[in-house]
């Protein structure tokens, strides 16, 4: 696969001292890469640099074979969909879509044909004469997407395009976007702070924190093997408890796990709630059932153990195997361990408890 977008050593430091440092990303043709991170992590800065709306202090941006670092936005082969206020309210949907083609002085019959094509792609055929104010939020974002697609961009940039919509619509549009992306073989850079959104639509995810990249990997790997404590904490649900690392393994109470990373001393151990299992045999952890919550296809059980609170997901059909206030035995089928200072670990543990 050829590289369609490459960002090399991108830095942009604002006067406040915030910004991004030394970001390098490569996106292959037809790939959907997501920049994921909490607000203020710099993901939008990276995206806007690629679009040409931010002048990077350092670094090179290439689209296709071309160095576009110093190219103005209107000359870049990229198209951008913003979070909101994409459309021009004084123009009809048709005029909004036709604007770029009119600037290129295309023939009217050609423009009509292309606008039809774009509207069909986003399932809004027949809305040419409407004004943006007559459309719902989701429809407006679809028109914005159609307008971006009309540019036939080499890279499509999306800046949290669905975050202002309600949950159901967000899901729908996500799926539609993925379909269009596959159909048109689009190369996309997608920015979001919603880890669920990132996991569900991306080919690869770039997790960012405080202006730096924490991990770049496929969604499965990000979830399964988070590279840092931050990623572990940010992606999905995770229990954090204290463990002790020795050369022969990581000890949690009576349980011993392989010490793959060769850590030493006190470590933060992360356990996905689905990796906590009820167990009869030894060794196991004794726990008291403190809360049972039915959440649809699974049940969330809160357990109190000697090293703190543990959340456990069990299948909805097993709801009768746990009873409030009873003592159960659990085992951990899989753990992640991270070397971290005691302080940080405690802070994060608390942060988790409030979720």
């Amino acid at each position: 696969m050829s590289i369609q977008l490459s960002v090399e050593g991108l830095s942009k430091i604002y006067q406040t001292g915030e910004g991004v440092r030394d970001i390098s990303i490569e996106v292959a043709k037809g790939e959907l890469v997501t920049l994921l991170g909490p607000s203020g992590c710099g993901k939008t800065t990276v995206l806007r640099s690629v679009g040409g709306f931010v002048d990077p202090s350092e670094g090179i941006i290439r689209i296709g074979d071309r160095d576009v670092t110093n190219v103005v936005p209107e000359k870049r082969p990229s198209a951008m969909v913003f979070q909101s206020y994409n459309l021009w309210p004084h123009m009809t949907v048709y005029d909004n879509l036709a604007f770029s083609l009119k600037l290129k002085k295309k023939k009217k019959s050609f423009i009509t044909e292309r606008v039809d094509w774009a509207l069909n792609l986003v399932h809004l055929t027949g809305s040419e004469k409407k004004y943006p104010s007559e459309l719902s939020g989701g429809q407006q974002q679809r028109i914005a997407l159609a307008r971006a697609l009309l540019l036939e961009p080499e890279v499509l940039l999306l800046d949290e395009p669905f975050s202002a919509l309600d949950a159901k619509l967000r899901h729908e549009l996500r799926e539609e976007l993925r379909e269009i992306q596959a159909e048109q073989n689009l190369t996309m850079l997608f920015v979001t702070h919603d880890q669920e959104e990132a996991l569900s639509i991306s080919d690869r995810i770039v997790v960012m924190n405080r202006g730096k990249i924490e991990q770049v990997a496929q969604p499965y790997e990000i979830y399964h093997k988070p590279a840092s404590l931050f990623v572990a904490q940010f992606i999905g649900r995770m229990n954090f408890i204290k463990g002790y690392a020795q050369p022969d393994g990581i000890r949690i109470d009576q349980l011993i796990f392989p010490n793959e990373r060769g850590l030493i001393g006190e470590v933060a151990v992360g356990i996905r709630p689905e990796d906590v299992k009820l167990s009869e045999g030894k060794p196991s952890i004794e726990a008291k059932v403190a809360k049972i919550m039915m959440l649809g296809h699974y049940v969330e059980v809160t357990l109190h153990t000697i090293f703190g609170q543990l959340k456990m997901f069990i299948d909805k059909n097993e709801i009768n195997t746990v009873e409030l206030g009873r003592i159960v035995h659990v085992t951990l089928t899989r753990i992640q361990s991270f070397q971290d200072s005691n302080e940080n670990y405690l802070e994060r543990n608390e942060a988790y408890a409030t979720i």
């Binding site: 951008m80 979070q83 206020y85 994409n86 021009w88 604007f99 307008r147």
Partner: protein, 273 residues
């Protein structure tokens, strides 16, 4: 009382307030209109005892008055165009660029209204004598501009601020240069605010009397200036005929622009940001 019970106390109070407002608002206008068409109207009578168009013919056949009307409209048009040229870029700068003392400069446009106008004009007149601008067309236009800068900067500036940055950026993104973005996106979106400001500017120039009087006399006599002398020299009927003529363009313009002259557009213009 039975009708208070019928419509409710609150509604009744509202009705009374509205009635008082209508009297205060339309009463003088009605009186003016009656006076303009009256031939004879003595004190105890409620209505004129005799109707006549005498003063209308007097006003409309007087060359000095007719030419003053043309002069007024010419000046108002030129003043509006010049303030558009000066203020639209300024308004855009105030809306988009963060520069030091931005609020102070924006606020300074109000300062001309903070002093007694005549005092301001007299000191300007001193300056105008040195620059040979007294009794010139340019001098009058400059005096009018002092009053109109505020409308033309504040209202369009608020209108520009209501255009979101991402709306401009997406236009850049689809291939428009900054100038084309301004022409095709920003300016049309701010158009209602600019129209409102232009109407105010036009009307304020049309009705400006003090400064014009000071700077333009004796050669340049606009409608309001002529009106002063007519009120002083002729019966009040002539003055009211003239007032009606002066009010007419105001009403016509406001009706024509009422689509844009929403309370919102006006209020937006005077938000301190």
């Amino acid at each position: 009382m039975w009708f208070i019970k019928l419509i409710g106390k609150l509604k009744f109070t509202g009705f009374v307030c509205f009635f008082i407002f209508v009297i205060f608002f339309f009463g003088p206008l009605l009186n003016l209109l009656l006076l303009a068409f009256s031939g004879e109207w003595q004190y105890p009578d409620r209505l004129p005892s005799e109707w006549s168009l005498t003063w209308w013919t007097f006003v409309l056949q007087n060359d000095a008055i007719i030419s003053s009307i043309w002069l007024s409209f010419l000046i108002a048009t030129i003043v509006t165009l010049i303030s558009l040229l000066i203020c639209i870029p300024a308004a855009y700068a105030f809306a988009r660029i963060q520069f030091p003392l931005r609020r102070f400069f924006l606020f300074s446009f109000l300062l001309t209204n903070a002093f007694p106008k005549m005092g301001l004009y007299v000191s300007i007149a001193v300056l105008f004598y040195q620059l040979n601008l007294m009794n010139t067309f340019v001098g009058i236009v400059l005096i009018h501009l002092i009053n109109t800068l505020m409308y033309m900067t504040w209202i369009p500036s608020a209108a520009f601020e209501n255009v979101h940055r991402s709306q401009e950026e997406s236009a850049r993104d689809v291939g428009a240069s900054p100038l084309k973005v301004f022409w095709h996106i920003t300016l049309p979106m701010a158009k209602p605010g600019i129209i409102v400001a232009s109407v105010f500017t036009f009307l304020s120039s049309l009705n400006e009397a003090e400064g014009t009087f000071l700077v333009g006399i004796p050669d340049y006599r606009t409608m309001p200036v002529i009106m002063y002398s007519i009120i002083a020299d002729y019966p009040s009927t002539a003055g009211s005929v003239f007032s009606v003529i002066l009010t007419l363009p105001t009403i016509l313009l406001l009706v024509a622009a009422r689509k844009f002259v929403g309370a919102e557009s006006f209020a937006n213009g005077f938000k301190l940001k």
